[in-house]
């Protein structure tokens, strides 16, 4: 049963990575930038939910909704203030700004909420599922996390393939100039993708904190980097790639912790990334980039 338990935990952690990676990959696809502050939005989502449940005494579902709204607004504001003025700037400037935003969010959290870890109460207050005469226990958070990731993946896929706005997003990701000639407002499309990505980060944040209930201002950084790795592993810019990369990374991490060693787990995760990129530079589901001549 140990193997099965590890597999389920891996898929659950991987589902959180997948939700974060979806945000990374969508922002990259449209804005062509790596938003390294994405991980810290997760932490903000966690804190908003923590205070909404704790201090305001709101029911978990309302608290999650509040976290999503707060992070969506945060995403739009950050894009507007920090990234929009750099639209024509070299990508290195944008990258460094993103790292700056990341530190800004972490230190703001430190200032506002202090360095003491907060004990996060799960947003899924249901009992665990017990199978095979108690040999296998699956927590309700695990089930909700996996279902949420699957649902988000399906909804995003439908959004980008069936709706006019979703298709306009794909058009922007291919050729912004041509998209403008169609009458698509590229700036508001970029704004929208930041809103979607940050809203997803909030969901990832509350699910992550429900499973690993210690909340500190740096809670988002490691999952953020892992999710970025997942997005690259799956092929950055690809929605199914982000989901696959996330789940794979989660499973590899948990197996490495269980069978090789906790200390080596992260090293193994990143080693897998390096190996995959050596064999498939565009990632598992990424497209080969054809250079224009």
């Amino acid at each position: 049963m140990g193997f099965l338990t590890n597999l389920i935990n891996g898929i659950s952690l991987g589902s959180v990575y997948a939700i974060i990676a979806l945000g990374y990959t969508m922002v990259y696809g449209i804005a062509k930038m790596l938003n390294f502050a994405h991980g810290d939005v997760i932490m903000v989502g966690g804190y908003v939910c923590f205070f909404a449940m704790g201090s305001l005494g709101l029911p978990p579902l309302v608290a999650v909704l509040l976290a999503v709204i707060a992070c969506t607004c945060l995403g739009i504001v950050v894009e507007r203030l920090a990234y929009k003025p750099l639209r024509e700037a070299p990508s290195l400037a944008v990258l460094i700004t993103a790292i700056g935003v990341s530190y800004f969010l972490q230190n703001s959290a430190l200032l506002l909420w202090g360095a003491d870890p907060k004990a996060f109460a799960s947003v899924v207050p249901f009992p665990s599922l017990t199978l095979f005469d108690g040999q296998l226990t699956i927590s309700s958070v695990t089930i909700v996390t996996v279902l949420a990731a699957a649902a988000i993946m399906v909804v995003l896929t439908l959004f980008t393939t069936k709706t006019k706005m979703g298709k306009a997003m794909r058009a922007c990701s291919e050729d912004k100039g041509a998209a403008q000639l169609m009458g698509i407002n590229v700036n508001s499309t970029i704004s929208m993708v930041f809103a979607i990505g940050s809203g997803l980060a909030a969901i990832a944040g509350v699910l992550l904190c429900s499973a690993y209930p210690t909340l500190v201002p740096t809670t988002g950084s490691m999952p953020g980097i892992k999710a970025f790795t997942a997005a690259v592993l799956g092929g950055i810019g690809s929605i199914p790639g982000a989901a696959l990369g996330g789940v794979l990374l989660g499973v590899i991490e948990i197996f490495a912790k269980a069978y090789i060693g906790t200390q080596l787990a992260d090293a193994i995760v990143f080693a897998v990334l390096i190996v995959v990129l050596l064999i498939r530079p565009a990632g598992l589901l990424g497209k080969e980039i054809r250079e224009k001549v």
Binding site: R170, E174, D175, K287
Partner: protein, 233 residues
């Protein structure tokens, strides 16, 4: 309909368009011809709102449109079919057309799509195929169909003959003529001057960012200087 007056456009420090003025009347086909680097595409991109002019005016149906962003130009009734076609490669033919009608309602989009399929039956056959898998000629048809989807009053075409076999060029120009007869005003930029002059009403010759000659297309087609410079004698 469209009146450009003393337009100056810079690409960084390069003065690409130097005081260009021209007019397009409703129902006309007007062509801008000239060598590579004469400023033809820059002029079109500026009218479309992709580039901001340094000075000068762009008047469309009596309204000054300088500084209007590209995505709003479409709503004014100006469509640009850009150089190099710039098809959305990973989107299907049908999705490319839908994007063309982004500013229109779903109902209008469907109606226009049927009309575009009537004009370009080959696009209908390939409607589920990704844009990037089409041949050059088909991509040009798709780019034109896509520009038509927004029901433009003025359609600007930038080098529609680029990279196409002579037979296809003929076909594309026949279609442009046909679109004009159906009521779309056309502003055409071409390096293939003889082809452009053969279908246009009027023409302007651009030379290193300035209008060097203008007049009736047929007259220019037989003008000695134009023949020597652009039509190979």
């Amino acid at each position: 309909m469209l009146k450009i007056d003393d337009l100056n456009v810079y690409y960084g420090s390069i003065h690409a368009v130097k005081g260009v003025s021209f007019e397009v009347e409703e129902g006309e086909i007007v062509t801008l011809i000239g060598a590579n680097g004469a400023g033809k595409s820059t002029t079109l991109n500026t009218v479309a709102g992709l580039l901001k002019p340094h000075s000068g005016s762009i008047e469309f149906e009596g309204e000054d449109l300088v500084g209007t962003p590209a995505h709003k130009m479409v709503r004014k009734g100006i469509a640009l079919c850009p150089e190099g076609r710039r098809i959305f490669q990973d989107m299907s033919v049908q999705e490319n057309l839908e994007m063309g009608a982004f500013t229109r309602s779903d109902q209008e989009s469907r109606e226009m799509r049927e009309r575009v399929y009537e004009s370009f039956p080959r696009l209908k056959e390939r409607r589920r195929q990704a844009g990037g898998t089409l041949s050059g000629g088909e991509q040009q048809m798709l780019a034109m169909g896509r520009a038509l989807m927004c029901k433009p009053k003025l359609m600007m075409l930038d080098e529609p003959s680029m990279g196409l076999a002579p037979l296809l060029v003929r076909e594309i120009f026949d279609i442009i003529k046909e679109l004009n007869e159906q009521g779309t005003t056309i502003l055409l930029v071409e390096q293939n001057a003889s082809m452009a002059l053969s279908i246009a009403d009027r023409a302007y010759v651009l030379e290193t960012g300035r209008v060097s000659m203008s007049g009736n297309a047929n007259d220019l087609l037989h003008d000695k200087r134009v023949r020597e410079a652009y039509l190979g004698g």
